[in-house]
């Protein structure tokens, strides 16, 4: 595998039971870049995301991290790969029985040998980064949706992961908060060199952060376009991508 390729998805076919959602998806995620998985609602982009993390098993095809085949690996290998990844879920997915501080601290206390005061310092640093300084003692239920998402981001970056996954980060956020989140994503990429995979259908985010994008077509049930979104909008390979990127109301109809 080429050195600059971090994740490779090969001929992935996924679905539920006998219903095939998407077939034969192949693409590579380059190191230090933001790769966006996009498409209309219901096209299977979140499902693809779950397949890349091993939360669902593919019907056929493989996912590779560096040179290791993730799909064929046993649990310990998968766990060691996943420990290099941070994931921000759609709703934040904070553990509801723990405070925000404990949520961010858990991966640190589980997977590092840091003493408690060092963990507290890192928690403080990560929460400051996402603009939630001083909210360590709050429970997830006491936070707004946007704050939960930011706390989820602080937890995802707690272990300084090489790869970050975002599942619809701007869903449910107002445009300004969403813009700030996009800026945070760009900062993570720029300063820490983090490889980022993001699932979204928000056009402003796509055009702001994506280096590369993958388009899943819900009607053809396969990947019909790949490349930088700015290039795709200039030379759209098919009508569906064009409609999606130009907001030709097609997205609404598919919903």
């Amino acid at each position: 595998m080429r050195d600059d390729i971090k994740i490779r998805v090969e001929n992935l076919t996924m679905g539920y039971g006998e219903v095939i959602l998407q077939q034969d998806i192949s693409f590579s995620v380059r190191k230090g870049e933001v790769t966006v998985i996009m498409g209309p609602s219901g096209c299977g982009k979140s499902t693809l995301f779950r397949h890349m993390l091993g939360l669902q098993e593919p019907i056929s095809g493989k996912v590779y991290y560096d040179d290791t085949c993730f799909t064929d690996s046993e649990l310990p290998t998968r766990q060691s790969i996943l420990r290099r990844c941070g994931v921000l879920y759609q709703s934040g997915a904070l553990w509801s029985s723990m405070t925000v501080g404990e949520n961010v601290a858990l991966p640190l206390s589980e997977f590092t040998d840091n003493p408690d005061n060092e963990i507290a310092r890192i928690v403080d640093e990560k929460l400051t980064m996402v603009g939630l300084k001083g909210l360590e003692k709050k429970y997830p239920a006491e936070l707004s949706g946007g704050m939960r998402k930011r706390a989820g981001l602080a937890r995802a970056i707690a272990l300084n992961p090489e790869i970050l996954f975002f599942d619809e980060p701007s869903a449910g956020l107002d445009p300004v908060t969403s813009y700030k989140l996009d800026q945070t994503i760009l900062e993570l990429k720029k300063h820490l060199g983090t490889t980022i995979i993001m699932v979204t259908h928000e056009l402003p985010s796509i055009f702001t952060v994506a280096d590369q994008s993958v388009y899943l077509d819900p009607d053809e049930r396969r990947m019909t376009a790949m490349g930088n979104p700015h290039d795709l909008i200039r030379n759209p390979p098919n009508e569906s991508v064009k409609a999606f990127l130009t907001r030709n109301n097609t997205e609404m109809i598919s919903k």
């Binding site: 993390l53 996943l82 904070l94 858990l106």
Partner: protein
């Protein structure tokens, strides 16, 4: 739109096929569905047994703060309802004895009925049923909503086993607390049985307890406690498994809780019969 049309086509095909299915296919599907359910229960049980092994070796990632919290909710918080039900069960058994034994002039024998009934059967069963309704349902609802909120996925992608983190503390808490709650239930049940015996049939306290000691021994008490431990594991397993299997719709958590209670109570009654049969066979 194209996709929806495609789906609608699929659906009508499917329902047409369902109407004309031969009975053997119908039966095959039924067995397949139930087999896969049984395999899931076996897999889940296997997973927590392995996790328990890890815990004993000291490798499990259990969060003790959660464990203490759960221990509290399945013990102190359950005391009032266990007391109430046990009191009433003691009264019912004693009444039953009063009605039947009076006819033979054998009122004193109500002590045997209460002793046997409470220690061997009703103490553990009623506590188990209460815990299935109270705690099993709560476990399923908690885990179901954690699943919907992607909290379980977040554990998995951090490389933390949800079995260690979520199932083990609940299982251990109920396994430890069920026998203790059953002892508490036994005491209240026997005392209420005595109250009825003394009040209704004039069996004095000293005679009631002396008669009871004549026929009831330590094995009867221990059998009840053994059952309680088994019921604790069954209720926790049913609750956690149904929670883990919860779907993602709005009513899924409710469905999971209902299924946990049904499974918990069924397992209690069934295993109680098996244990009674085994105990009779080996002469306890």
């Amino acid at each position: 739109m194209g996709r929806n049309a495609h789906r609608a086509g699929n659906n009508s095909n499917e329902s047409a096929r369902r109407i004309h299915r031969p009975w053997l296919e119908e039966f095959g599907d039924y067995v397949k569905d139930h087999m896969s359910g049984a395999i899931k229960i076996a897999t889940f049980t296997g997973e927590w047994v392995i996790a328990l092994g890890r815990l004993i070796k000291g490798d499990a990632r259990i969060r003790w703060k959660d464990f203490w919290h759960i221990l509290r909710t399945v013990s102190i918080d359950a005391l009032p309802i266990v007391a109430l039900i046990s009191f009433l069960v003691g009264v019912i058994i004693s009444f039953l004895g009063a009605v039947t034994l009076k006819q033979f002039g054998a009122e004193f024998a109500v002590a045997y009925l209460v002793g046997f009934g409470i220690l061997r059967e009703m103490g553990a069963i009623m506590t188990g049923v209460i815990m299935a309704g109270r705690t099993g349902a709560a476990f399923a609802a908690q885990i179901g909503s954690m699943k919907i909120n992607e909290e379980i996925d977040a554990l998995v992608t951090f490389g933390i086993s949800p079995i260690d983190f979520i199932v083990l503390p609940r299982l251990l808490a109920l396994f430890i607390m069920m026998p203790l709650l059953t002892i508490y239930s036994n005491v209240i049940g026997i005392l209420s049985g005595w109250l009825v015996a003394e009040g209704l049939m004039g069996v004095p306290g000293p005679i009631f307890f002396k008669e009871m000691q004549l026929v009831i021994g330590l094995p009867d008490f221990l059998l009840g406690i053994f059952k309680a431990g088994v019921f604790g594991i069954l209720v926790a397993t049913a609750g956690c498994l149904r929670g883990m299997q919860s779907g993602s719709g709005a009513d899924a958590v409710g469905v999971a809780a209902t299924r946990a209670v049904v499974a918990g109570i069924t397992l209690i009654i069934f295993s109680n019969a098996v244990i009674d049969w085994a105990a009779a066979t080996i002469g306890i």
